[in-house]
Symmetry: C2
Subunit: 104 residues, 2 copies
């Protein structure tokens, strides 16, 4: 059973791995074919595929098939959502009910 917490965690998993951050850095330069990404990273073919899958599932990256190639780019929508979510998760709640420590 996937909770809303797991859903949210999935989004940020995109940014939690060195390899994926390198991939995102490359994609900041524009849409890239998997083959181009692979030749710039220290990653085997299946390794790249693994990370791209996570990135796409997180919503941060979107993919486009073109014949036998797959092109990837940063999703503006997904990125905006992640930003919004991050802000939500760290902004004080309206209903700020304080609960004191036991004996105080």
């Amino acid at each position: 059973m996937a909770t809303v917490y797991d859903e949210h965690a999935k989004v940020f998993k995109a940014f939690c791995d060195e390899k994926r951050l390198r991939i995102l850095e490359l994609l900041r330069g524009g849409e890239k074919c998997a083959c181009v990404l692979q030749e710039q990273l220290d990653l085997g073919q299946s390794g790249l595929s693994y990370h791209m899958k996570l990135l796409v599932e997180s919503g941060i990256v979107e993919s486009r098939q073109e014949g036998k190639w797959t092109h990837y780019k940063i999703s503006e929508k997904g990125s905006t959502y992640a930003g919004t979510l991050l802000k939500e998760l760290t902004t004080p709640n309206a209903v700020t009910e304080e609960k004191d420590c036991r004996d105080k």
Copy 2:
């Protein structure tokens, strides 16, 4: 050797775990003592301590010692930094040099 990628990854690790997201949710209601957090979460004492350490190291949470109690709250500064970083990591680079797929 910690790369800048690892540094960045550390920030987002805060949001990559269900338990930590639950903790943040509680902290959105204001500063809380560890004992209060523990009684609201399905976590043992050492488990909570483990997650709090990660949260503090990520910069998202700050702690304050008061006698034998430790109080935690969401760090506005850390949260803002995370938001800025996320935006940076997902915003197209100025220098958008396209590199085409091999044969095209």
